[in-house]
């Protein structure tokens, strides 16, 4: 059995993590008005429709792209020495100290509670087309998986291969990969909740909701 209390205590002991914001691509960077110590937030609103705090602007091919905070936190370091210069992709721009939110804590605990189906190889993964459309329209939890089901497309070295799910039957409770992103071998792709575990999972959700107070 999963000791949720212990896990929560562990997380409470170090409730933040450091977030490094890097340039998603090349371009000329400018930092606008943010200062060290500023509080920033990620996207908010019921549908995440209100964008997060702007951290920097990256101009490439006359196109200004605003780089925004994706999480709540405090600005720890700004690489102001880069202001107005052309930076390479992946250059560190800003560092944030980020306090774990309820969702993240939930994510951490769920990862321990759910059955994780892992990437067999480093590759890009996609859901099979029919599954993909189902998830897009009604969410991942609408999909029930069973052993041997053709669930993914694994794309590697421009070759695509179907990948079957193996593990207990259940619904897809969490998706851990993103479009066009390379997943290392052994990293989880999805978290599956078997029907008999559903009450346990719901318990985890409730516990985190009530016991975790988000820090400002």
């Amino acid at each position: 059995m999963l000791d949720i209390s212990k896990l929560l205590e562990e997380i409470k002991a170090s409730p933040y993590e450091e977030l490094v914001i890097t340039a998603p691509h090349t371009g000329v960077v400018s930092f606008g008005s943010i200062k060290v110590g500023d509080r920033v937030i990620g996207a908010t609103g019921t549908w995440g429709e209100i964008p997060g705090t702007p951290l920097a602007t990256l101009q490439r091919e006359r196109n200004d792209k605003i780089i925004r905070a994706t999480q709540k936190g405090v600005v720890e370091k700004i690489h102001t020495e880069l202001e107005g210069t052309f930076v390479e992709a992946g250059t560190e721009l800003v560092r944030l100290r980020h306090f774990l939110s309820k969702d993240e804590v939930l994510g951490i605990i769920l990862k321990k509670a759910l059955y994780l189906f892992e990437a067999p190889e480093r590759a890009k993964y996609y859901f099979a087309p029919d599954i993909d459309s189902k998830i897009k329209s009604s969410g991942s939890q609408s999909v029930t998986v069973h052993d041997g089901m053709e669930l993914f497309i694994m794309s590697r070295m421009k070759r695509e291969a179907p990948l079957n799910y193996s593990g207990p039957d259940g619904v897809i409770y969490a998706v851990y990969f993103q479009h066009n992103e390379n997943i290392d071998s052994g990293a989880p792709l999805i978290g599956v909740c078997p029907p008999d575990q559903l009450s346990l999972i719901e318990d985890v959700v409730v516990r985190v909701q009530t016991e975790w107070t988000e820090q400002e």
Partner: protein, 472 residues
């Protein structure tokens, strides 16, 4: 090179990036390289670090994002872009953007209009048909409609039956694809629909286009190519001979290429092989003249056992196997032809400076593509760390590789697991075979992956196939 006041952005990676940098060095031109985080150990990065000057190496988010390349070009002061092969090599929109943006750059490749016209297989087919150049039977426009697709497939099956083909087969391929990806064979009309749908959804995912081509696959054939080079006038194309690329992996990927395309001097063919070679070079040149082709390009041909050639497609780029043609070519009697350098030279606007009479051929060349893959398992790529990689030097051998020979190297999963191109020369067919085997026997190539499995490569496959080259 008269005007060396140029800086070339190498918009590619690996072996071709190195070849382009070498050619630039040879021509006295500056260059700038790009790489992605995954590729930071690649030889091309190392070469740029060692031999590039100021502003010659940039990390980008992707090789396939035009915005990245152009931003780097502007930042580094590049004046021209060499796309290599793959990536943007045959993207007419990229070529158009390069040449039409405010800070105009030279696209080292054919003009964008030519890339557009010939990049469209259908259009090429129609152009060919207008010049009475034979093309493979099948659809001559992308098919979007399932019923239409099925009708064409049915027609092709009937046609082959009438031709007396015992096991007729139809090829279904993504209209926007190329290079052997997104192609499937269908032997049974009843299975056609499901294959068609699979290719269509593959095409939609990869190219955002649902267009599918349905063609007859001529089963028993040789795959030949004609290497064309022309300068910016587009008026005086020359050819650098033919190549035979018939030895392919099960995924229809080329594995070794031989120049010239046939060898009637040592092998007896059931047809007039010399005439076929002459015909396809003539057809290719005719088409190049018609469209005003103005850089390097390859005309790909299928030659059937009865000696009938069909044009398959035109590749409006330098190809992987350019080196093997260069190996047997002589300009004004001189060896050491470098087609990439020629491409850059004419690309930057220099006149070609010679004509067909100045080009002669000597001997036979083989190009081996050394790839970490398992030929026994449908050529599945092998991913892992290369621990030892080396070869003995010979005057009949050229090696092109981005894989370092002095340190271990992790094969990135983003790209094809090509390790090196080995180009072998011999004064005739028998000598080149001997040289080839000698090279393969001396080659050192070992490594391991995370699971402790030792490196798989296609060396044995290449060795076995060496015996069969140019036979039909």
């Amino acid at each position: 090179m008269q005007n060396t006041n140029h800086k070339v952005l190498v918009a590619n990676r690996g072996e071709i990036a190195i070849r382009i940098m070498q050619a630039c060095q040879k021509l006295g031109l500056g260059f700038v390289c790009v790489y992605t985080a995954e590729d930071s150990a690649s030889g091309h990065v190392r070469m740029a670090k060692e031999h590039g000057g100021e502003k010659s190496l940039y990390r980008v988010s992707s090789y396939q994002d035009a915005n990245e390349l152009l931003a780097v070009a502007d930042e580094s002061g590049a004046t021209a872009i060499h796309p290599g092969y793959g990536f943007f090599a045959e993207d007419y929109r990229f070529a158009r953007r390069v040449t039409q943006r405010e800070n105009k750059l030279i696209f080292i490749g054919p003009s964008w209009r030519i890339i557009r016209e010939l990049g469209d297989k259908i259009n090429t087919k129609r152009l060919a048909r207008s010049l009475e150049v034979p093309t493979v039977p099948g659809s001559d426009r992308p098919v979007y409609d399932e019923l239409e697709a099925e009708k064409i497939a049915r027609q092709l099956f009937e046609f082959q039956e009438e031709q007396g083909i015992r096991r007729p087969m139809v090829l279904v391929k993504a209209s926007a694809g190329g290079g052997g990806m997104g192609i499937e064979e269908v032997y049974d009309i009843d299975l056609f629909k499901s294959v068609y749908r699979r290719i269509r959804s593959y095409s939609l995912r990869q190219f955002s286009d649902e267009g599918v081509l349905i063609e007859q696959r001529i089963k028993d054939f040789n795959h030949l190519e004609v290497q064309i080079v022309s300068d910016r006038t587009g008026k005086n194309p020359v050819h650098f001979g033919t190549r035979n690329c018939s030895i392919q992996s099960t995924g229809l990927q080329k594995r070794l290429e031989i120049a010239p395309g046939f060898d009637p001097s040592s092998i007896n063919y059931t047809f007039d092989a010399q005439k076929v070679l002459d015909d396809i070079t003539e057809y290719s040149l005719a088409m190049a003249r018609k469209v005003g082709y103005d850089n390097v390009g390859t005309w790909e041909w299928i030659v059937t056992r009865d000696g009938r050639p069909f044009l398959m497609e035109v590749n409006t780029r330098i190809q992987v196997e350019n080196g093997v043609s260069a190996m047997i070519s002589r300009v004004n009697g001189k060896a050491g032809v470098d087609l990439i350098a020629e491409q850059i030279r004419v690309g930057l606007g220099e006149p070609l400076g010679y004509s067909q009479e100045n080009i002669t051929f000597d001997g036979v060349g083989i190009e081996y593509r050394l790839i970490a893959e398992n030929p026994e398992m449908k050529f599945t790529p092998w991913v892992g760390r290369i621990e030892d990689f080396g070869w003995d030097k010979h005057d009949w051998l050229q090696m092109h590789s981005h894989v370092p020979t002095d340190v271990a190297y992790d094969i990135p999963t983003e790209f094809d697991p090509n390790l090196a191109l080995a180009i072998i020369w011999g004064k005739d067919l028998s000598e080149v075979k001997v040289h080839g085997k000698e090279f393969l026997n001396e080659l050192r190539l070992t490594g391991q992956n995370q699971g402790g499995e030792s490196l798989k490569s296609n060396v044995n496959f290449l060795r076995t196939k060496t015996d069969e080259i140019l036979k039909f």
